[in-house]
Amino acid sequence: MTENLALEIRHVTKRFPGVLANDDVSFNLRKGEIHALLGENGAGKSTLMNVVYGLYAPDEGEFLINGKPVEIKGPHDAINYGIGMVHQHFMLVPVFSVIENMILGSEVTKGTSLDIKRARREILEISEAYGLEVDPDAIVEDIPVGVQQRVEILKALYRKAKILVLDEPTAVLTPQEADDLFRVMRNLTEKGVSIIFITHKLKEILNVADRVTVMRRGKVVGHTTPAETDQQGLATMMVGRSVLLEVEKAPAEPAEIVLQISDLTIKDERGVSAVKDISFEVRAGEILGIAGVQGNGQTQLAEAITGLRGVDTGTVTLLGEVAPFEKPRYLVEHGMGHVPEDRHKHGLVLPYSLADNMVLCTYYQKPFAGKMLMRNEQAIQENADGLMERFDVRAPSAAVAASTLSGGNQQKVIVGREFSRGIEVLVANQPTRGLDVGSIEYIHKEIVKMRDEGVGVVVISAELDEILSLADRIAVMFRGEIVTIIDAKDATREKLGLWMAGSNPDEK
């Protein structure tokens, strides 16, 4: 048995101040298999892999590679033992060329100079051998994310990696790009590479993995294979209780138009049109989902609608009145709620307490503003306690800083603040990005509840599953334009994926 193992991890424990990130974790990887490591955010998957890659020093534990005990003191050792890692956030220098990124740390030289010519030749050879096409002279920041990921994989192969760790590799890809990646992964295993595939997406595991190890709160809680289980089974193992993967919702009952966007055009900082002539309307009691690969103008669109950004042409009509741009307070006072894309930058004041964060939109109104210039501490406290209970925010008290909370709880603070203001229009941009299954389930339920109460909702998301499970109508954005708006009943993953990539599935 052991001679078949490319990598064996025995009893690894890793502590961070106040957190037991890995608690006696054991894990093994057979040669040529794709072994999925499943778990919620904070379950310790990435920590474990960073330990294997030598980025973190474990407090206890040992590693065996090809059956032999090894010591990994840093990435340098890991690379020497044939371990390559593609991190969730790419480890590429944006201003470097592909070649420079590839050779960094393993440079080929001629005399004292870098031998760029030889490096280019070697890269092209590998890229051909594995069918991963790249332009070695392109600057990394100019190439699309999918290609950047290819560069990351090639970087590992260039260092002759036999064990490849992919940390949440599909988070940034379109469905088609993800399918391509899976093909590449199978191709690699045929050539003798063993792959550890970290993810929290259940469907992908059933698609590509040979075996699955599930982690929860720093511990391994089970092993299984795709043949023995299904999505529900995996989700239950991962969360520790049964979860609803699809939101249960009644058919929408759209009423009057509450938000109307007309001919909106926005140029970005470089003068390029980020949003081109977009028009749509949202009715009370429906959810409009805006799908699209990140960076196709959704950010600019959401910022314009919510008053954070000016536009070049076009209008936004809120509840029958033309809304001014760059006046967020007008919007806050006229029934708009906003769950921003970047909760750290636009959603919360991280060093502030939860109580203060929960009155960010209303602190100047009664009852929170007391006599003269004083705050009404009691009202702020009561508001916070109420919202924390109603929205299930798990924190020691409302006085702790928002920065100390997990992503899911931070998002619940924002949702609590916005949803409790008596809003009539809600714009939620990437409302569940980076959250675990349990929190996603909760936030989806709350969004549907808002819809059922008659709020007009816009959900912008790059996650197709999210759009498909929430939206009543689906708009797809591509290069700043809305290329189609369809009824959710007629939408399939494949169709939306094609729209998102800029082709029209109906003309074949």
Binding site: P75, E107, G146, V147
Partner: protein, 341 residues
């Protein structure tokens, strides 16, 4: 995979070239034009102006090299002034005590390197705010040199110009470029050496990677701390050499606070030169040229109040920095201490 989005817009190569180098070429042609025109009118004065430009530029470009080695690896160094000053002082003392100029130069370089080590320790190991770290060095150098300096110390000579044979006889260029004391020659060479190291060697690739994305470099087995330490120390040594230029080559003696802001101007030169050694050299020459012009014009018989002529270098700086240079890209991780976990 779909790779249709986010492609850069295509621009013709000529347009790209002009956009990138147009202003540089324009300014250079302008300066050369004025110089040749002036040379035809009055060769002696023009030669003096050009030679003086080179002299003024030398400490600035050395300071800028110090700054950009640090910043390319992600450490902001606003302590150039202090490193230069201490180098100048130690070099001067070594000259007073031993009378050996070569030894004095090495002493100055070592003093600068030591200050570089101090900055590296504060900003890399202690992860202190780097602006404060640099300020500590400036204040420390000012205090130390002020306290230990005694009026009346005399030196035994300074570094003398070495004419490079026939090259020194070329009109206009000869006296300016090929009849200089050793540190000035060393500066010419250093500019190209640093350029080569930074852009064509393994060390340079790692340095730039550490300044842009230290974590990426770390995951590939590059020792971020080591790269930063070495670059900051080397930078300090170069700043020490700039100090040696002041006391051992240009002036020959020491005065309190004699660097007189050159360390800070060097920072401007570095940014103006877009964090490249050659760019910094060009920028330093322009600053030096403006200064030299200003001095010469004060003696010339022009019906303009001398205060206006005195403004010339500053006006030139403002015009060039605001109008012609465009945006400079600062290394992404500049000034951010690196945390492993």
């Amino acid at each position: 995979m779909q790779n249709s989005n986010n492609l850069p817009t295509q621009v013709s190569p000529l347009k790209q070239f002009l956009k990138r180098w147009g202003s540089t070429i324009g300014i250079a042609l302008g300066v050369i034009g004025i110089t040749i025109w002036q040379y035809n009118l009055n060769s002696q004065i023009t030669e003096a102006v050009v030679a003086s430009s080179i002299r003024q530029a030398t400490p600035l470009v050395l300071g800028a090299l110090c700054g950009l080695l640090g910043e390319r690896s992600g450490v902001i160094n606003i302590g150039i002034e202090g490193q230069m000053l201490l180098g100048a002082f130690v070099g001067f003392l070594a000259n007073v005590w031993t009378g050996n100029l070569l030894f004095a130069v090495f002493a100055a370089v070592a003093a600068g390197a030591l200050m570089g080590l101090l900055l590296a320790y504060m900003s890399v190991t202690l992860k202190m705010d780097q602006i404060i770290g640099g300020t500590v060095i400036n204040i420390l150098a000012l205090g130390l040199t002020g306290y230990f300096y005694q009026v009346g110390l005399t030196t035994q000579g300074k570094l003398q110009p070495i004419a490079l044979g026939a090259l020194a006889d070329i009109p206009l260029i000869g006296p300016a470029f090929f009849n200089n004391p050793p540190i000035t020659y060393a500066t010419f060479i250093l500019v190209f050496v640093v350029h080569y190291v930074l852009f064509y060697t393994k060390w340079g690739l790692r340095t730039r990677a550490v300044g842009e994305h230290p974590r990426a470099a770390d995951t590939l087995g590059v020792n971020v701390f080591k790269v930063r330490y070495v670059n900051v120390i080397l930078g300090g040594a170069i700043a020490g050499l700039a100090g040696a230029f002041l006391t051992l080559e240009a002036v020959g003696s020491f005065e309190r606070a004699m660097t007189n802001g050159r360390g800070f101007v060097a920072l401007a030169v570095m940014i103006f030169g877009k964090y490249t050694p050659l760019g910094a050299w060009g920028a330093a020459l322009l600053f030096g040229f403006a200064n030299a012009m200003q001095t010469q014009l004060q003696f010339a018989d022009i019906q303009v109040p001398h205060q206006f002529i005195g403004m010339l270098p500053y006006i030139l700086t403002i015009v060039v920095l605001s109008g012609f240079v465009g945006r400079t890209r600062v290394p992404a991780a500049d000034g951010v201490p690196y945390d492993k976990e």
